[in-house]
Amino acid sequence: MSRLIGRGMQVELPPGWEGAVTSGDFRELSDGARRPTVMHIASFPLPPQRGDWGSGAVQLMRKTDVFMVLFEYLPEQAGTPLFSDNEVPRQLDPSEFDETALQEMRRGQSGLQRFFTYRGRAFCLYVVLGSHLDRKDLVPRVNEVLAGLEIE
């Protein structure tokens, strides 16, 4: 197991998994948008160029792969109705995954989004499974990683 640490978040990565944490800090970009903090976790080699929600990475997924995103929203979003859950999702259920819940629709894959607030920080957890048919095998691997996720 290795540990991915960045921007007040850390997680234990199973052997062979990779991860990255962008240095968001909500700094203002040239177009006026503010750069969020984003954590990517993958059971496969992450390409260096990829979108916040995994474009460029999900195309590389095999059926046995999972891809996870922890996307931090602006602090003022914390506690709003969308982010009213106050716990880090730790135990996802395979039945929650949906083939239409993907940011980028890909045949055979399925996804899930969970919004929550933790310690004054607003997050969306987004998970992509390489194979919806194998969700009962893949979701426990996701839950194993979520069990080791810490947010300051």
Binding site: L4, I5, E18, A20, S23, F44
Partner: protein, 238 residues
């Protein structure tokens, strides 16, 4: 006779003192050069190098199962060496090393590496030893570039540029320095060829891009084609 033996003994003692003094001064020079950071800009066009003490945790195993560091933009990155998918070519480069420029440029263009599944990863020293801005200006956009002095220490990188090829299980297939892209390609070919051979899978025709092919390329560039009479001439006669 006794006098000769005494003289011989004295000569031997003097020689021993001289050798010890030379070794000591040589060691002192090396120590001072190392302290000054010398050797980081040295590129020696060698093939796979196995002469330095192995930086392995076990036989053939890389000292790390992952590379962790920061990108020039400040992102935290963990790159696995045991991802089980093809090989990883780790390139230890520096922003200030003139010999490295060839490889920064090559990785930014349409480069070819032997073995279709080789994943290139560039590793520089950490932000305390390298300028993130300098590395950012050189980092190829399509290649993971991370800054990690810990990785350099773990792999005992002896010079720049330095390359290491690992398989998907984290086994080191080969490592060494190169001064040109062609040398690097040869290093990778040789490492892949050696690993196949050691796995008992190689035969004469298994690797048409191996050392023999490399030598053929050199000869062809020199105008010597297969069947050239000079290949069969006795060098003693000429």
């Amino acid at each position: 006779m006794e006098a000769v033996l005494i003289v011989e003994g004295l000569v031997i003692i003097l020689l021993l003192i001289l050798v010890a003094g030379l070794l000591r001064s040589h060691g002192e020079i090396l120590r001072r050069l190392h302290a000054l950071g010398a050797g980081e800009d040295i590129a020696i066009p060698t093939g796979p190098s196995r002469r330095r003490p192995p930086a392995t945790a076990g036989f053939g195993q890389a000292p790390l199962t992952e590379l962790s560091g920061v990108t020039p933009a400040g992102d935290t990155v963990n790159v696995s060496l045991i991802h089980g998918r093809g090989t990883t070519l780790i390139s230890f480069l520096s922003s200030g090393c003139s010999s490295c420029r060839t490889f920064w440029d090559a990785f930014s263009g349409d480069f070819e590496l032997p073995g279709v599944d080789a994943r290139p990863v560039i590793v520089t020293k950490g932000p305390a030893a390298e300028s993130p801005e300098g590395v950012a200006s050189l980092a190829p956009p399509g290649i993971t570039t991370l800054m990690s002095t810990e990785a350099w220490d773990a792999f005992r990188v002896p010079m720049t540029p330095y390359f290491l090829l690992a398989d998907g299980a984290g086994n080191v297939l080969g490592e060494g320095s190169a001064s040109t892209w062609r040398h690097l390609q040869g290093l990778v070919r040789q490492s892949l060829s050696d690993s196949r051979r050691s796995a008992g899978q190689a035969d004469e025709n298994a690797d048409p891009n191996g050392r023999a092919h490399f030598a053929d390329d050199d000869l062809r560039r020199a105008g010597i084609e297969p069947g050239d009479p000079s290949l069969y001439r006795n060098p003693i006669d000429s």
